[in-house]
């Protein structure tokens, strides 16, 4: 889990939704192979932060650099960059009209122009890896939430991304299905995948993260290793947040 050269760099990023200042001068650097968990109260801007990294949300001020290059404007160059950044959504967003295997192979075949047979083989291997190889020919609606989210992770991994973004990947799941998704994420983290994870799963933050980012009111309030952050939060806001979620 070496934290080598920076892969994702945000410099003084600002974003407004109308009058709402959702990202307020956020600067952040994520090294290759680093796992950064972003936590904070709802409305603090953490999901928006995650979505700016592949420009699903454009920003108003500041710069975002991925792998040494600033994010390009909408167009082919941006599409290429997005293909190198996997994204997993809270609501899975599997393509409803395609089977699980087709979901996983669409990107490799259409974006990377891989041969369908090769993409299929790799897709099946990925589905096997996330434990749902036997669901390959079903449609998303036929799967449980946990299975759908694992399929969505496989779909993102099929592009062989340089980094993975997780936007509250377990928030829409039944409690008993959270574990199976976190297991997949933990194994990814231990294999050296660069990850930015927005989550409320403090257990995952504790054992899988290299760093914990705490956000509140659009600002990046704390940035510390998990042991330090959970044992000894520096800011009043973080202490307050942790006391609320850890007392139950």
């Amino acid at each position: 889990m070496a934290t080598g050269e920076p892969l994702i760099v945000l410099d003084k990023v600002n974003k407004w939704f109308g009058p709402l200042h959702v990202l307020d001068d956020v600067s952040l650097s994520v090294g290759k192979g680093e796992v950064v968990v972003v936590i904070g109260p709802s409305g603090s801007g953490k999901s928006t932060l995650c979505r700016t990294i592949n420009r699903l949300e454009p920003i108003n001020h500041g710069t975002i650099t991925f792998d040494g290059r600033p994010l390009p404007a909408e167009g082919r160059a941006l599409a290429k960059l997005r293909s190198e950044v996997g994204m997993v959504f809270q609501s899975f967003n599997l393509f409803a009209h395609k089977t699980i295997l087709e979901n996983v192979t669409l990107g490799p075949v259409k974006v990377r122009k891989e041969k369908p047979a090769a993409a299929r083989e790799r897709g099946l291997a990925l589905l096997d890896r996330v434990g749902i190889a036997n669901q390959a020919d079903k449609y998303p609606a036929q799967l449980s939430g946990g299975q759908q989210q694992r399929a969505a992770i496989a779909r993102a991994l099929a592009m062989q991304p340089k980094a993975m973004l997780f936007d509250e990947p377990t928030s829409a799941l039944d409690p008993e299905m959270v574990g199976e998704v976190l297991d997949v994420m933990t194994s990814l983290a231990s294999e050296g995948m660069t990850m930015v994870v927005v989550t409320h799963e403090m257990g995952f933050a504790r054992h899988a993260a290299n760093r914990v980012i705490f956000m509140a009111d659009g600002q990046l309030v704390e940035d510390a290793p998990p042991t330090e952050f959970f044992a000894n939060p520096r800011s009043e806001r973080a202490r307050d947040f942790l006391s609320k979620i850890l007392t139950h």
């Binding site: 699903l56 290429k80 599997l94 009209h97 669409l106 259409k110 974006v111 592009m159």
Partner: protein
């Protein structure tokens, strides 16, 4: 009611001409409407503006006025719409190739007007697809065109079929206007011909032409219902 039997050939001829212009106008409006819809949802602001302007103009103008512009504006510009004299098509649809341009003018007006509604029907289907679908496709690196082709349009079709059908049915009924803009012998103009020129009673003639329109619209509606049911099962 004997007019229905005595003048069956006149009714049949009117039916045939109305069917011809409706088939051509439906094809034209579906193609043009799809193009305008793609413009309206394009990520490029100037293209979106063109699409929106098109819809605002043609959806908000009475068809009669569009017909006036086609029938009087085009000749004023020196055009007889000869570009519609497509070699193979004009042997199938004979009026396309005649020297009198009014069939072509009426066709242009119907296409321009109906395309605005086709665009909105297609767009309502696109809007019915959850935004997360397009977002997931974008995050995989699919381009705008790939996103439409492989993710959004296949899912939007289901929600578009019914409004699209209503638009085409409305277009068939709107085609009744063309007789007032120089097109001789369509279903509606047949009524005028039979009643004012040949003195037949109006009501039997009106019943005759109503049957003609219903023969076109009712089966179309039934077909759409079937399509909708089949799509519902496919989910």
């Amino acid at each position: 009611m004997s007019v229905l039997i005595d003048k069956f050939d006149v009714f049949a001829g009117g039916f045939w001409l109305t069917l011809q212009i409706c088939v051509l106008a439906a094809i034209g409006a579906l193609i043009l409407g799809a193009v305008v819809a793609v413009l309206r949802i394009s990520p490029v602001p100037p293209l979106r503006a063109v699409g929106t302007a098109y819809v605002n103009v043609f959806r908000n103008m009475p068809l009669t006025v569009v017909m006036f512009f086609a029938a009087f504006g085009l000749p004023a510009l020196g055009s007889n719409a000869d570009f519609l004299r497509v070699p193979v098509l004009d042997s199938l649809f004979s009026r396309l190739g005649t020297d009198l341009p009014y069939f072509r003018f009426a066709l242009i007006a119907l296409v321009l007007y109906t395309a605005a509604f086709v665009c909105e029907a297609l767009r309502s289907g696109v809007n019915a697809v959850p935004p997360g679908q397009a977002e997931a496709a974008r995050s995989l690196g699919l381009t705008f065109g790939q996103n439409l082709r492989h993710v959004v349009l296949p899912q939007s079709w289901k929600a578009s079929v019914v409004p699209l059908g209503s638009v085409i049915i409305a277009m068939i009924k709107n085609s009744a206007l063309i007789g007032f803009f120089g097109v001789v012998g369509d279903l509606s103009q047949t009524a005028d011909q039979l009643t004012s020129a040949e003195g037949y009673a109006f009501i039997p003639v009106a019943i005759g032409i109503s049957i003609g329109y219903l023969i076109m619209t009712v089966p179309l509606g039934a077909l759409l219902d079937r399509l909708e049911k089949r799509q519902a099962v496919a989910r």
